[in-house]
Symmetry: C2
Subunit: 415 residues, 2 copies
């Protein structure tokens, strides 16, 4: 089994084939959850799974499961990720993990290897959370962290609900969610950060995930004409922003190099260029791998924003609309990944993920860990997201051997 | 003639009647230029003019002219303003000036007063510049400050052009623009600022208008995932904003209490809450009554923004997309307004307008000045914009007597 490797060319060609659905002119992908493009990508994936003799089922939130049978009917080893992308996303974020999982099944098929426990491949619905504003939605429902009905009720900006869109693209499954017979799980993903590339390492052995949350800030001002209204008489939300924005960046810096603060959305209403805004809405995403620092950052951010708005006499509402607790992955799963890395003689280091992943929800159900490979310039959520064929296959080989080593026994008579 | 006053109740009732077109639930108006609501408002105005025996013509950019004949066929005295509003505008900004002008004609009719020179009433097209992004468009075309074809080609956010919309609402006139026979002009307007109210004055004698311009700032960043990308590796436009925004407010403050700086529009793209924005667009509106200060403000703003973006390594484009030079109004017109205020024994003071008005363009064609009345809290461009019936009639009475005094001779045999 030491010589076993995935079919690098097949994996790469499938990644490129999948990228045609929602392809953007700049070479990226716009395949947001439950769109026509997502439907086409899902259908392609299901065709591949069926051709590989996997047993395909779709659950009530559209998660696709594809099982390669083992000798035992239970105790499956799960792997997978997501096929949806950001509006101007890349070809690899999520897709690599799904298609590397498929490649694990195909490679076992190619060698006629029978496993003791089933291999369960999964595509999670709406991991990105950009069209429907809950990231990792499908895995959250599966793990019981989000009620199915709450996920169904989420609407996109046009008012279309998750349930309506699942029905529309024919991906609302009839199977109930299956969690009970999963023994362990692994997720391969691109790093989405520049660390592995900078340190010229081939693999990241992911030991956990940062604490993270997103907050919506809504500041109420008073619309007024840009000319006649003296500056001192204004209720101007942009002036509060001018106060708290630099202080928030400074606050994050004070919490060290692992702290992250991101303002991804900002909009002034009514948005007329000669009217003081009556309302300013922005979001802040706060992350830190250490709980103490993370909690202090959130507390300080609320205080800084509150003070700045108070100073300007502006009412402000700040609400946390999404949160993911940090996760420490399972030691045995981590050991399985480290073992695979050692066996394959790749260079690697343990690291904490700065991004949330479906594996965070999976980790609440069964022993779980993750594998990272580098991506060019650490870029993701970007059409320029890039990895090489070799990097993809390194990740898939680690996934293959971690799954075989940690959990999927291979009691071949030849061993 | 000293006893002559407008019909206060009629003026007030017409203002309220006009406000029904585009009325908003919060008591304001959304009657943006060349919409169905604007069409309805224009048609109502034209009906009133015809009932008052005024000669109505529409020019090539949709400006409506309504003339009350004088003994002389030329040398008309012009008055008017605009009927269009901001998306969440009020009932009085522009409308007061139009309907007070109509009231001047009606009052002369009521008393059977014949004037030496004609009274020309005007409604300017698209003063607000919110739907089609050029404020004071109709008066600019009339005064030759903007080519007719350039105005026709302006499009709203849905791609509809000014010319298409003029045709659609049946307001594309066949008369060529008429400027040659106008001898003088007056415009009555609400102050749109808090000064008159704060000083408990009834009338503002407007001696000029601030220098002002609007600039679009487009900062290019690099989209990146909010989690894994270290702060030091980001190309984050919001970080440049955090640097220059407080400095711009401080810069404006350093130019004294007459300086104005307003950020009415801001938007991050792609606007995903877990992605560092790849682009940030905002507008800045800069005003000052003194040319030296105004020009220094613009120069300093460009420098501050450029430096902040340089520091972050971010490309930035800043372009002036609208400008209106400050205006000094005609001394004889100002004297006519002052004379009317004295005659009517109102309290008043000379002031500089902080907002641009159609009168700025008109002033390039003929002797011009403006009259302000206070509005509640100085609020405008706001659904809560408010004046009293008495305030409206004070303004209309000053307009009436300024027009009679400065220009419209009344050589009645009884005088």
């Amino acid at each position: 089994m030491i010589d076993l490797r995935v079919n690098e060319a097949r994996l790469w060609s499938r990644i490129q084939e999948m990228a045609k659905h929602g392809a953007t002119p700049a070479g990226g992908c716009n395949r947001q959850a439950l769109t026509d493009e997502d439907k086409a990508g899902r259908e392609l994936f299901i065709r591949w799974c069926k051709a590989a003799d996997l047993d395909v089922r779709i659950d009530g939130i559209g998660n696709i499961f594809a099982r390669r049978a083992g000798r035992s009917a239970t105790g499956a080893i799960l792997t997978g990720s997501h096929l949806d992308t950001q509006p101007s996303g890349g070809k690899y974020d999520g897709i690599l993990g799904v298609l590397a999982g498929l490649e694990v099944c195909e490679s076992l098929n190619d060698q006629g290897i029978e496993t003791e426990f089933p291999v369960e491949l999964v595509v999670w619905t709406n991991e990105e959370g950009c069209r429907f504003h809950t990231a990792m939605m499908g895995s959250a429902v599966w793990a019981g962290a989000m009620p199915l009905e709450a996920a169904y009720a989420l609407c996109d900006s046009s008012g279309a609900s998750v349930r309506e869109e699942l029905i529309r693209i024919d991906q609302l499954g009839i199977d109930s969610v299956l969690t009970s017979d999963i023994a362990a799980a692994f997720e391969l993903h691109i790093e989405q950060g520049p660390v592995l590339e900078a340190e010229q390492l081939e693999v990241g052995v992911v030991i956990g995930v940062q604490h993270m949350s997103r907050h919506r800030i809504v500041i109420t001002g008073k619309e007024a004409h840009a000319g006649p209204t003296p500056m001192t008489e204004r209720l101007d939300p942009m002036r509060a922003l001018a106060d708290f924005l630099p202080r928030l960046y400074a606050m994050a810096e004070a919490h060290g190099p692992d702290a992250r603060i991101t303002f991804g959305f900002i909009e002034a209403a009514p948005g007329s260029n000669n009217t003081v805004p009556g309302m300013l809405t922005l979001t802040v995403d706060i992350r830190h791998p250490e709980r103490d620092h993370y909690e202090a950052m959130v507390g300080e951010a609320y205080q800084i924003i509150g003070e700045a708005c108070d100073t300007q006499g502006l009412p402000v509402l700040i609400e946390e609309f999404w949160k993911a607790d940090g996760v420490s992955f399972d030691q045995e799963c981590i050991a399985a990944v480290t073992g695979a890395v050692d066996l394959l003689e790749y260079t690697a280091k343990p690291m904490v993920s700065g991004a949330g992943h479906d594996a965070c929800h999976v980790a609440s159900v069964c022993p779980t860990s993750m594998i990272f490979i580098p991506c060019e310039g650490g870029l993701s959520h970007n059409e320029a997201e890039s990895i090489t064929q070799t990097q993809a296959s390194i990740g898939a080989n680690v996934l293959l051997h971690a799954m075989l080593k940690r959990a999927t026994l291979v009691p071949s008579s030849k061993d």
